[in-house]
Point group: C2
Amino acid sequence: MSEDRRLMVLRAIVQDYVQTSEPVGSKALVERHHLGVSAATVRNDMALLEEEGLIHAPHTSAGRVPTDAGYRVFVDRLSAVKPLSSGERRAIGQFLEGAVDLDDVVDRTVRLLASLTRQVAVVQYPSLTRSTVRHIELVPMGSSHLMIVLIVNTGRVEQRVVDTGRVLSDATGEALVASVRARINEVAAGVPFTVAATRLRRLVDDVDEADRAAMEAVVSALGDALVEEREERVVLAGQANLARAGTDFQRTIGPILEALEEHVTLLRLLGQLGDDPDLVSVRIGSENPVTGLQSTSLVSMGYGSGAERVASLGVLGPTRMDYPTTMASVRAVARYVSEILDENQAT
Amino acid sequence: MSEDRRLMVLRAIVQDYVQTSEPVGSKALVERHHLGVSAATVRNDMALLEEEGLIHAPHTSAGRVPTDAGYRVFVDRLSAVKPLSSGERRAIGQFLEGAVDLDDVVDRTVRLLASLTRQVAVVQYPSLTRSTVRHIELVPMGSSHLMIVLIVNTGRVEQRVVDTGRVLSDATGEALVASVRARINEVAAGVPFTVAATRLRRLVDDVDEADRAAMEAVVSALGDALVEEREERVVLAGQANLARAGTDFQRTIGPILEALEEHVTLLRLLGQLGDDPDLVSVRIGSENPVTGLQSTSLVSMGYGSGAERVASLGVLGPTRMDYPTTMASVRAVARYVSEILDENQAT
DNA sequence: GTCTGGCACTCTCGATCGACGAGTGCCAAG
DNA sequence: CTTGGCACTCGTCGATCGAGAGTGCCAGAC
């Protein structure tokens, strides 16, 4: 008994099942694939595959369905990432080129991924922690409030309003704002965010007693940007694609939608990538720790300028998905987005 | 035959149907409501209501279900917006107070609305067109690129990167940026966006030949902010609540999710409010022109500082919804958000 | 004139049953 | 080790049937 053939059979089962959404039997298998052996032989192989826990029969007389472990073997050993057609590549490029700013890039990316894969797309905003401060702007709002606008090298912009507790609209106030603005940019501009945060904290002590409160407010607001849950943001698209999936899936759609609204857990999930940052990571069904997503697979990859990955993106769909093409799409999009970030940043 | 009683019957039908999700019959009606008449009488009234097109029987021997027209009568004439409990009011306030910036306000609002009404919540970002420019910041990116950061009075911040076509990193470049920044803020700060846009366009002509290209790039990017589809943004939450609704609804969930992803049409819908800006607007089922949303109702209201409404928010759910409490929640949230915008802006 | 109880009628829903078919496991032979 | 054959299992589909809910209508009461 050749193990090779058994794996061929597994591959054929996965492929057929992905295409038809129905349990696949031995007869249909030999008809659709030229395996060179008879149905009976295939049946023997299938019995073994079932023993190994790679496939499973919903009931006595239905065909077989791959288990999560079966998909895992398929993804790891039986499939190659299918390269996209040049037309598809071009379409991706064109669609993303038009973006005018980071929000737009993220927005277009998530829509693109969703329509490309016909699944739910997930795109994380570039993490602040892993970015470099480009500029910090202070804009007076009302008499004592200050809007702090933080601009980082990925093009991401964060804002925050603080109450400085003193009048800023008079001449001394304006001078204070100008001086604070100059001093924080002096130490923070061009510096990795985390470094900037500590430098800024030290800066507070150097400030005159009178102005310290204002400086303090600004610095702590900037520090907050890291801690706050808003540091990490995620955007979704293509939820409608969940409804398109098979009827068996319809039932679980509620929990899935709920899980998708928990951005915090979603981000944690997205953050757990494989070791090699240049590889697409696949999490299949129950490999996934999040309640509600155990009948889905997540195909994700990091993106970002240069070697450093500043965030992740991916798609989520039923475990019965076309892994090779999905993985190809995710990888292609991640690479394009990385390129675009590179262009837009050019320190 | 009293028309009054017929309307009481309609009200009772709507209330029961909303609660039980099942067609309501004459017998159940007299049991649950003290109408003071017998089931037979109610049946006669129901026959008339059906003639008027306000209710409808799914089949001969099931109870009656309100039609869209029936809900319309209910909303317009038979129900009062149910005031929220003081606890609820407090919870709304507390939840929204914590917001640190506009993104956060919008984010919290949409989540709050979704969990309050257990339906899909929709919140539009304050329109730029109806806002006032507070400050425009220019930040050099790379050697020839410029990031333009537009800050308006609602706290909304928009960014955009343009290529000025000339080196900005040398001394003359820096001087140019400073001068452009000063001049555009001089004419634009504190001015309604639309006015600022025209003033800025005029400004281009006053600039020296040499620097005109740079000024031109900045001004046209700012002008774009208006035209681009990004001018209007919308945020959703609570899609999972769609799955929670009755089983009859599950089938239509796909088209609904699709319609929700069409932000442009969604925005158009949200923009069509009633005449009185202080009133909750309700669009019921087929009153709604958007394909896919014809089995849903939209309860919406404008919000914004002062008398001017800068945007809308609302919730979307099955036509069979609890209108009085939903309307109350939407109104309460809209008012709170308006208040918060007022506080944060205080020109 | 309006309301009410009674009654026959209609229609859906759920359970039951049986035929059908797909698919399997096993076995004996190649 | 492979293959064709064969008996067996089990879920699906369709038809049938009874129960129950709800109605419309009518004749009588107020």
